[in-house]
């Protein structure tokens, strides 16, 4: 997290810390599922097979402490069928689900986040929070950090990508966030964590996106998987109740 601050206990109780092909993030759904980015399990540039070790940690803001709490074994992984590991510029379908072997017991430091149900969560300028144990400025984090970012204008993001001469695909199943003039962004190690928005009307926190890709860190916009477009798929995979 670039330009962020330390989280306090209970701020982002859904935050998962993963270590699969390196550090990553995730979010707790229900009491048995971890939402994350597909590329944390099947990295694009490494051409690696699915790793046998999927270490998932939950329930603390301190890295050492979260690891002391013990890992949560993963029963199975579901990658979205649209994800293409072999296309480095295509992060379409960058979403995955991990089913934990055992249900977790919820508490103040471990709670799930909700999913979106309408487009208003993607209105330009809507503020959200991104959290993670990823790189901060030029150091790797040992505590959970967060940054508050606005949903950005799609056209502005597209324009920005053109200036960067990017071949990356910015599809309808993604949204962008941040501001090129402000050094606030997610970064490596934050992938898989969620863009969380507070719905003041219902007083709940909703995950509207998954930290997916960007060009550098803190120099422009960040790009996120648009969760609203995958809610049906998620419900189908994990069941309505979970």
């Amino acid at each position: 997290i670039i330009g962020g601050q330390k989280a306090e206990p209970g701020n982002f109780p859904w935050q998962a810390f993963t270590n699969i092909h390196g550090r990553g993030g995730g979010a707790l759904l229900g009491d048995r599922w971890i939402l994350t980015a597909a590329h944390t399990i099947y990295p694009k540039d490494q051409n690696k097979q699915d790793s046998s070790n999927k270490d998932v940690f939950l329930g603390h803001i301190d890295l050492e402490e979260i690891e002391k709490l013990g890992h949560h074994p993963v029963r199975r992984v579901i990658i979205h069928p649209d994800y293409r590991q072999d296309e480095p510029n295509n992060f379409e379908g960058d979403i995955a689900l991990m089913e934990l072997e055992n249900r977790v017991t919820l508490g103040p430091d471990l709670l799930p986040i909700c999913l979106p149900d309408n487009e208003t969560f993607y209105d330009k300028g809507l503020m959200g929070y991104v959290s993670g144990f990823g790189i901060k400025e030029d150091k790797i984090a040992s505590e959970l950090m967060f940054v508050r970012l606005p949903v950005a204008d799609r056209k502005a993001c597209q324009r920005w990508l053109r200036t960067k001469k990017s071949n990356d695909i910015f599809s309808e199943n993604m949204f962008c966030s941040g501001d090129p003039t402000i050094k606030q962004d997610a970064c490596q190690g934050d992938s898989g964590g969620v863009f969380a928005v507070r719905d003041r009307n219902r007083n709940i926190w909703v995950a509207t996106g998954i930290v997916s890709w960007g060009i550098g860190c803190g120099e422009g916009y960040g790009f996120y998987t648009k969760l609203l477009n995958y809610v049906d798929w998620i419900k189908k995979e994990i069941g309505e109740e979970d």
Partner: protein, 446 residues
């Protein structure tokens, strides 16, 4: 003598009949019928020279060493001594018919021709049961000592109940050692009752009726068995046993009380000594079906189905419990209960009890708890518990339209199961609550 072959009927005629009979003739015809029969003979035609005292020609009938008559003349004529329509019957099975003619049948110088006779005989049954005259004793003696049965061609003797026909086929001796009575009711008495009973008796009368029936004995008057003022029944005794159980020993003139033996097997032993002239005893026995005591519930929760005013052998009753209670026999829970009235008047099972249904400890709820609405720790019928989830992290899953008032409330039902009004037996579920951090991020500096 001419012996006619033995047969049941036949005819005898004079020689040359119906032509005139010859002179100077005498012949005796011996008529025989089978033993057990008598000979009965009648004359259909009779035309023999009449004479005073039947001196010339005559027919003589004799049987049993006696002459039954000597006859001559014509049937419708007064001359001579015609037999008329008389029936001649022998005592035994033989009769002799002698026909005698003299040297001529001349009357006033005229030769007369007489046709002779035609007689029919038949065998008639001899009633051997008629008392026979005993010449030695000079009186009539019965053929059998007790009972005589005549039949065509014979007879036989028998004895009254309690007596046995002896080898001589006519005398009877008392035999009462194995009388068996199996009818639902009847009468039993000492021999010769109400005449004095014979001496030296060893009588055993057994009554055996179907299982499930009980025998009632009622003695009738007169009741007389030899007794003694000071010593109990020293001479003659009547002992009564029911299923081997001794009901008493009786004598004297006081008839025993009526007995409800509660048994389907009764034995009466009657012993008499060598003398006495008491008239004996007689009883009437009846049966009635064994009854069982009226079933009674042991507690207020027990229901006896369709109670009957009376229960008898093979009847049964069914017991159930009020709602929320279950049948218990000892420590065992029963699914049902039936008791049958046995042949000894007892129920084949003792009355059970009804115990309140216990649903057991409520199941624990994952990520939740339960608390008792009713008395804590009591899990019996109509107990209620309230399930709740560990809020705010979990919330109870509800179906659309479910009532807040019954949510999570489970009642111990009559079936012994915890049930919710809407969810039934299904346990509630505590589902995670999303998006509600306990300590949401807040920022101060602007």
């Amino acid at each position: 003598s001419i012996y006619i072959p033995q047969k049941l009927y036949g005819e005898v005629t004079s020689p040359l009949y119906p032509k005139p009979y010859p002179n100077d003739f005498e012949e005796t015809t011996v008529i025989t019928v089978p033993v057990g029969y008598r000979v009965k003979l009648v004359f259909w035609h009779f035309d023999v020279e009449p004479s005073e005292g039947c001196l010339y020609d005559y027919v003589k009938i004799s049987a049993d060493k006696k002459t039954l008559g000597r006859f001559c003349g014509q049937l419708e004529s007064p001359l001579g001594n015609p037999p008329g329509e008389k029936e001649f019957i022998s005592e035994e099975n033989k009769m002799l018919l002698t026909f005698h003619t003299d040297f001529s049948n001349e009357e006033n110088g005229t030769i007369m021709f007489y046709k002779g006779f035609l007689a029919y005989y038949q065998a008639v049954d001899r009633d051997e049961c008629e008392p026979q005259y005993n010449t030695v004793e000079g009186s009539y003696q019965p053929r059998c000592q007790q009972l005589c049965h005549n039949y065509v061609g014979g007879y036989f003797c028998s004895c009254r109940p309690g007596y046995e026909l002896q080898k001589d086929g006519r005398s009877c001796q008392a035999e009462c050692s194995s009388g068996l009575y199996t009818e639902p009711s009847g009468y039993i008495s000492s021999l010769e009752y109400p005449q004095p009973y014979p001496p030296d008796l060893r009588c055993n009368y057994s009554i055996r009726v179907e299982r499930g029936l009980t025998l009632n004995l009622k003695f009738l008057d007169p009741f007389e068995i030899d007794d003694h003022q000071q010593v109990h029944c020293p001479y003659d005794q009547l002992q009564i046993y029911a299923n081997g159980r001794n009901l008493g020993e009786f004598c004297g003139n006081q008839r025993p009380p009526d007995f409800d033996t509660r048994s389907n097997a009764v034995d009466l032993l009657f012993f008499t000594d060598e003398s006495g002239d008491s008239r004996g005893w007689k009883l009437h026995y009846t049966t009635e079906i064994i009854k069982c005591p009226q079933p009674k519930a042991l507690d207020e929760f027990t229901i006896i189905q369709d109670p009957q005013p009376q229960y008898q052998f093979r009847d049964y009753f069914i017991v159930t419990c009020k709602q929320g209670y279950q049948l218990v026999e000892g420590n065992q829970v029963l699914l049902s209960f039936t008791a049958v009235c046995q042949d000894d008047g007892t129920w084949h099972r003792a009355m059970p009890r009804c115990k309140i249904k216990d649903c057991g400890q409520p199941r624990s709820l994952s990520n939740g708890d339960f608390s008792y609405i009713t008395t804590k720790g009591v899990n019996t019928y109509e107990a209620r518990v309230q399930y709740s989830c560990h809020e705010p992290y979990y919330k109870m899953k509800t179906r659309a339209g479910s009532s807040e008032s019954v949510r999570g409330i489970y009642t111990c039902t009559a079936q012994g199961i915890w049930k919710n009004e809407e969810e039934g037996e299904k346990m509630p579920r505590c589902l995670p609550v999303c998006g509600k951090p306990v300590n949401p991020v807040t920022q101060r500096q602007r």
